[in-house]
Amino acid sequence: MRPSIVAYLAVMSAVTLGTRILPLTLIRRPITNRFLRSFLYYVPYVTLAVMTFPAILSATDSLLAGATALVVGIVAAWLGASLPQVAAGCCGVVFALELLLA
């Protein structure tokens, strides 16, 4: 049986709050293990990369628009555009392409 949205949100929130609150209240020593520190340092980059591709291709109504948004986003971020600029650029490209293709 599929869990309810409320059950999902309860688990989601409990785990998030746990990761933030438990070390602050329980573990009062720094993490010194080099492997663990390095692991936690790399985690966000991999998570975001895995979640971005290929999901971005199917996020919009057209595959081509999603793929173009990916390229535009990478190039803009590489060239130093700020976060709002990259996000707006991706949205703009999808909007324009879907308007043209429709």
Binding site: M12, I21, L24, Y41, V46, T47, C90
Partner: protein, 292 residues
């Protein structure tokens, strides 16, 4: 400090020296005298963060609506999570109809860096800091709020964090709710375009560090490639998006940590903070955020 206050209040009560109203006023004035400055600075530094949160959370709200959340659920999901990668990963599990166990593990992996920030923040509190302050500061220990709190010199004053939270938290929660509502009322074409905003933000977070570090660049490319492999290979495509995120994140990060350990003594925690900064707050180092 708070303990002392309580002790004072209790003394006053015991001796009956102060009437109830006066006692409360006395305590309130003491608090403000001691922490008013930190509180004000927190609010000041929290305002730009709140504006960024509004935008990020709005795009998360668009994603939340797609998997079936209503505006109230969007509000509470935003209020209690305050994490861009975490919320997105969680919504993906809901969309895929995953189990609650899968949800728990996905959230743990997506939010693993908070364990590190939370440990790091714990070092900055006075050992006497009462539990309640640790819980409250931990409640909203986001990348950005951690960043500005840790950038302050000396022992951390929880009231600085409270000041920033008072403005940043509503920004995130209301943004999430607004995203759900906008997703329902805006034309389909606009919603489709807004759906990529979040991916654009993710790219803006991972690409600049990838440009500077070959290891991170390699990791991002490996993440893209293996994720596509899982999605498009007949046998592997049965693995849900959430499980895929867990497997690949743990495997690739462990591999990188074994091959390319991070050297700095205390660099890891703050750098990890940068990685998922939802907005371009001039992060931990530098006076920029203090001057903002």
């Amino acid at each position: 400090m708070i303990l002392v206050e309580f002790a004072e209040t209790r003394n006053a009560f015991a001796t009956g020296a102060l009437a109830s109203g006066e006692r409360r006023a006395h305590r309130g004035a003491g608090l403000l005298a001691r922490h008013g400055e930190a509180l004000r600075e927190g609010v000041r530094d929290g305002v730009p963060i709140a504006l960024g949160y509004l935008a990020v959370s709005f795009s998360l709200g668009i994603a939340a609506r797609k998997v079936g959340l209503d505006a109230v659920q969007g509000f509470f999901a935003s209020l209690f999570n305050n994490a861009s990668a975490g919320e997105y990963a969680g919504f993906a599990v809901i969309g895929a109809g995953g189990s609650l166990l899968e949800m728990a593990v996905v959230m743990l992996v997506a939010n693993a860096r908070y364990l590190l920030m939370s440990c790091s923040m714990a070092q900055r509190f006075s050992p006497k800091t009462p539990l309640i302050h640790r819980v409250l500061v931990g409640f909203d220990l986001t990348d950005e709020l951690f960043g500005i709190a840790i950038a302050r010199p000396g022992v951390a004053d929880p009231y600085y964090s409270y000041g920033a939270m008072v403005v940043a938290l509503p920004g995130w929660a209301l943004g999430g709710m607004a995203g759900v509502i906008a997703g329902s009322v805006l034309p389909e074409r606009v919603v489709s375009a807004l759906s990529v905003a979040l991916f654009g933000m993710f790219l803006a977070i991972i690409i600049p560090p990838a440009r500077k570090s070959r290891v991170i660049a390699g990791l991002v490319l490996a993440g893209f490639a293996t994720s596509a492999l899982f999605a498009w290979t007949p046998l592997l495509s049965g693995v849900s998006e959430g499980t895929r995120t867990i497997i690949l994140t743990v495997a690739l990060s462990a591999l990188a940590a074994a091959l390319f350990p991070v050297d700095e003594q205390d660099g890891g925690s703050e750098k990890a903070g940068d990685a998922d900064s939802a907005i371009a707050v001039p992060a931990p180092e530098g006076d920029a955020c203090r001057a903002a």
